[in-house]
C-alpha cells in the first residue's frame, strides 16, 4: 500500500507530535484502536459510543470538525480560527496538543492548526481495517454487512468491542478442529449420522481408534468373519480425521450395519437412541468376546463398555417394615422422564406442578423415591408378604462418558397413542453428579451424618463436561436429528453434510434428545492435545491438513 508513495518522503512531524511520541510512544494509538469503525462505505471514523453523538466538551456543540484528544479522550470542536476549542485545550493542558479527527481518523496538531502525519498511526488504522476484513470468510461485502448489522444493535462501546473480539476469534472453516467433517445422508440416515458424530468426538473412543488399537489389517488376518463393525468405525475415523473437509459418505458402515441387524436394513427413519444402544452392543459383541474379562467376572474391557458402562442401583424398600432390597443394573445411558409436561405422573413428593424442564430437575426426579403402584407390590423377604414399596434409583458407578436419554416419546396406554413432548430443556455445561451417586442418596436417606456409606466411591471424579447434544425436530413418526458438538469451547452444528459454528443459544433453543457428558479431566485433555494429535501412527492413511477446503 506504500508502493505509490515512493516519490514522497514522510512529512516531517511537527515538534508537538515528536514530543508526544517521545513521551507516550504507541500507547495512545493502541488504545484508540478500539474506537475505529469502518462505515458501510469503507471510510474509517472514530466512534466513542453508539448511544451518544460526540460533542465538544467546551461548548457541547456537535457542529464543525470534531477532534478527540489522544491523552484525555475529550472531544473538542474547531469551527473557526476564532473559536478553536482544540487550541484552547492545548493551551490549558500541557502536552495535550495531538488530537484525532473523529470523522476521518486522521492526526491533527492543535497548536500548528494543521494535519500531521505519523506512519505508526496509519499503521494502527490499517491494522484494524485489515483485521476487520479478515473476520469474514467472504471478504469485504460480508464484513460491511455485519458492521451495519452491529450498528443497528446500538450497543455501548465496551460491549461492542467485546462483540468485535468474539467475531475476531471466529476463524474460517479451515480452522475448525480436526475431525469435523460432514456425513452425507444416505437416505433417512440422520439418526445414524448424528450418533456417529457423537461417537467420533467421544474422547475415549477417539483416543482408542486414533491410537490404532483396532487395526483393520490385523483384524482381517485374525478373524474369518468378514463383517467387523469396529473395522468400519475405524474406517470412518480415518476418513474424518484425515483433514479432508468434504462431506463423507459412510456407505461401508451402513452396509455393514444392515448386515448386522437385518430388521434395520431399510431406508426408514430410526430412533437415534436405539441405534446408539445397539451400536454399542455390536462393538461389545466383537471386542468383548476377544478379551478374557468376562471369564474373570470383571467389568468388560471392550471400548464400548469402558467408555459408557455404568451401574445403576435400585433400592426397593418395604413400606411396612422398612426392609430394603438392593439390586444393581448395568446401564449404557440414563433415561430420564420429562415430567413437567406429564401431569398424569404420580410423584411420591406430590409436587407434580413443579416445573421440571432442566436436566438437574430431571435427575432430581430420577433419584426421588417413587411409590410403586398396587400392581407392582413387592414380596418382602422380611415380612414374607406382598407389601407396598418405595423404589429409589441412584448411580452406583459413573461411566467415563455419561449419556442422558430424554424420554420425549411418551406412550399413553389409556389413550393407546404415542406423542412427542416438545418442550425445551435446560442443561448445564458442567455437571457435578455427586448428589446422584448412591453414596449421596443413601446418606441423604439417613439424614445428616458423618459416616462413610460407600467408601469406594469417594475417589471417583464426579465432575462432567458436556461435549455433544443430539436434538430432534419434527414429529414422532418423522423428524430430523442434528448433533451439536462442544469442542474447544465452541459449539458446532453437525447437520448431516453441513458443519457450522453456532452460538450456545442455538443449541439451547433446540429440543435435545440425547445429552453426552464426559469426565472433566478427559474433556480438558482433549482440548489441549487435539491440535497436536500424533499423526505418525497412521501416517499412511492421513493426508496433510493443509489441503483442506
Amino acid at each position: 500500500m506504500y508502493s505509490s508513495n515512493d516519490l514522497y518522503t514522510n512529512p516531517k512531524p511537527c515538534k508537538h507530535l515528536a514530543e508526544y511520541k517521545v513521551k507516550n510512544g504507541m500507547c495512545g494509538y493502541n488504545l484508540i484502536q478500539d474506537c475505529f469503525r469502518t462505515t458501510p462505505y469503507g471510510r474509517t471514523t472514530l466512534e466513542m459510543s453508539k448511544l451518544e453523538i460526540p460533542r465538544c466538551s467546551v461548548c457541547s456543540g456537535c457542529q464543525g470538525r470534531l477532534y478527540m484528544c489522544l491523552i484525555c479522550s475529550s472531544v473538542f470542536c474547531c469551527l473557526s480560527p476564532e473559536s478553536n476549542h482544540a487550541l484552547l485545550h492545548s493551551q490549558s493542558q500541557d502536552g495535550h496538543e495531538i488530537l484525532v479527527n473523529m470523522e476521518r481518523a486522521e492526526l491533527y496538531c492543535s497548536v500548528c492548526c494543521d494535519q500531521v502525519y505519523d506512519p505508526d498511526f496509519d499503521k494502527a488504522v490499517m491494522c484494524k481495517l485489515i483485521k476487520g476484513f479478515s473476520r469474514s470468510e467472504n471478504g469485504v461485502e460480508e464484513s460491511e454487512m455485519r458492521l451495519s448489522k452491529r450498528r443497528r444493535l446500538s450497543f455501548g462501546m465496551d460491549l461492542d468491542s467485546k462483540n468485535m473480539k468474539r467475531l475476531f476469534i471466529r476463524k474460517s472453516k479451515s480452522c475448525f478442529p480436526l475431525g469435523l467433517r460432514g456425513l452425507n445422508n444416505l437416505g433417512n440416515t440422520c439418526f445414524m449420522n448424528s450418533v456417529l458424530q457423537v461417537l467420533l468426538h467421544a474422547p475415549p473412543l477417539r483416543n482408542y481408534f486414533l491410537s490404532d488399537r483396532h487395526n483393520r489389517e490385523i483384524c482381517r488376518k485374525m478373524s474369518t468373519d468378514r463383517l467387523c463393525l469396529p473395522c468400519d468405525i475405524d474406517l470412518i475415523f480415518s476418513a474424518v480425521f484425515s483433514g479432508d473437509r468434504t462431506p463423507y459418505s459412510p456407505t461401508q458402515f451402513l452396509y455393514s450395519w444392515w448386515q448386522h441387524s437385518e430388521n434395520h436394513a431399510t431406508y426408514e427413519q430410526q430412533d437415534a437412541h436405539e441405534f446408539f444402544i445397539s451400536m454399542l452392543d455390536k462393538i461389545h459383541d466383537k471386542e468383548g468376546k476377544a478379551s478374557l474379562a468376562i471369564k474373570d467376572n470383571r467389568d468388560c474391557q471392550c471400548i464400548a463398555h469402558r467408555a459408557f458402562y455404568g451401574l445403576l442401583r435400585s433400592d426397593v424398600t418395604c413400606a411396612s417394615c422398612g426392609f430394603t432390597s438392593t439390586t444393581h443394573d448395568p446401564c449404557m445411558d440414563v433415561s430420564l422422564d420429562l415430567s413437567a409436561c406429564n401431569s398424569s405422573r404420580k410423584d411420591f413428593a406430590s409436587k407434580s406442578s413443579k416445573p421440571n424442564e432442566s436436566l438437574v430437575g430431571c435427575l432430581d426426579l430420577f433419584t426421588r423415591p417413587e411409590k410403586l403402584g398396587s400392581d407392582q407390590k413387592l414380596y418382602c423377604e422380611n415380612c414374607h408378604e406382598k407389601q407396598d414399596a418405595l423404589k429409589q434409583m441412584s448411580i452406583k458407578k459413573l461411566p467415563l462418558v455419561l449419556c442422558f436419554h430424554i424420554k420425549r416419546f411418551e406412550h399413553s396406554p389409556t389413550r393407546k397413542m404415542s406423542r412427542k413432548i416438545d418442550c425445551h430443556m435446560q442443561f448445564p455445561l458442567s455437571l457435578d453428579m455427586k448428589p446422584y451417586l448412591s453414596s449421596s442418596i443413601v446418606r441423604k436417606r439417613y439424614g445428616n451424618r458423618i459416616f462413610s456409606f460407600d467408601s469406594d466411591e469417594s475417589d471417583v471424579s464426579t465432575e462432567f463436561e458436556i461435549f455433544a447434544v443430539v436434538t430432534h425436530s419434527g414429529m414422532l413418526e418423522s423428524g430430523h436429528y442434528v448433533t451439536y458438538l462442544h469442542l474447544r469451547n465452541q459449539w458446532y452444528k453437525c447437520d448431516d453434510a453441513w458443519i457450522t459454528e453456532v452460538d450456545e443459544e442455538a443449541v439451547r433453543a433446540s429440543q435435545c434428545y440425547l445429552i453426552y457428558y464426559v469426565q472433566k479431566m478427559l474433556y480438558h485433555k482433549s482440548c489441549e492435545d487435539f491440535s497436536c494429535q500424533p499423526m505418525s501412527l497412521r501416517a499412511d492413511t492421513f493426508v496433510p491438513i493443509t489441503g483442506c477446503c
Binding site: P40, I53, R65, P81, N84, C113
Partner: protein
C-alpha cells in the same frame, strides 16, 4: 420536634445545565439520523452528487490556487478550511440541496422513526 437541617443537600442545578439537557429539535433529528444510519447514507449520497456535478474538482482547484498564493510551507489545514468553506457552501448546486432536503423529509415522516 426539631426540624433537621439538611447538610448534604446537592447543589442547586444550574439553569444552563437544564437547557443543555434538553436537546433542541435539530439535535434530536441529528441523533435520529445517526442512530438509523441514514446520516451515513446521506453523506455518501452527497459525496457522490458533489463529485458528479464537478463541485469537488472546482474546490480542488480553488485550494490549489490558494496554496500557490500563500506558499506550500505557510499554510495549515485550518487556514484552508476557513477560506474555502464559505465558497464551498455557496456553490453547492441547488438540485443537490433539494434532493437532500427531500430525503431528510422522507426520513422524518417514515414509519420506522
Amino acid at each position: 420536634m426539631t426540624r433537621r437541617h439538611s447538610v448534604n443537600r446537592p447543589p442547586t442545578p444550574d439553569t444552563r445545565d437544564e437547557q443543555e439537557n434538553e436537546p433542541t429539535l435539530k439535535e434530536i433529528i441529528n441523533i435520529k439520523l445517526i442512530e438509523s444510519g441514514e446520516k451515513e447514507r446521506l453523506m455518501e449520497l452527497l459525496r457522490e452528487r458533489l463529485v458528479e456535478s464537478g463541485w469537488k474538482d472546482e474546490m480542488k482547484a480553488l485550494c490549489r490556487e490558494y496554496i500557490k498564493k500563500k506558499g506550500r510551507n505557510n499554510i495549515t489545514i485550518d487556514d484552508l478550511v476557513h477560506v474555502i468553506t464559505p465558497k464551498g457552501r455557496a456553490s453547492i448546486p441547488d438540485p443537490i440541496k433539494a434532493e437532500l432536503l427531500q430525503r431528510i423529509r422522507t426520513f422524518l415522516v417514515s414509519p420506522t422513526l
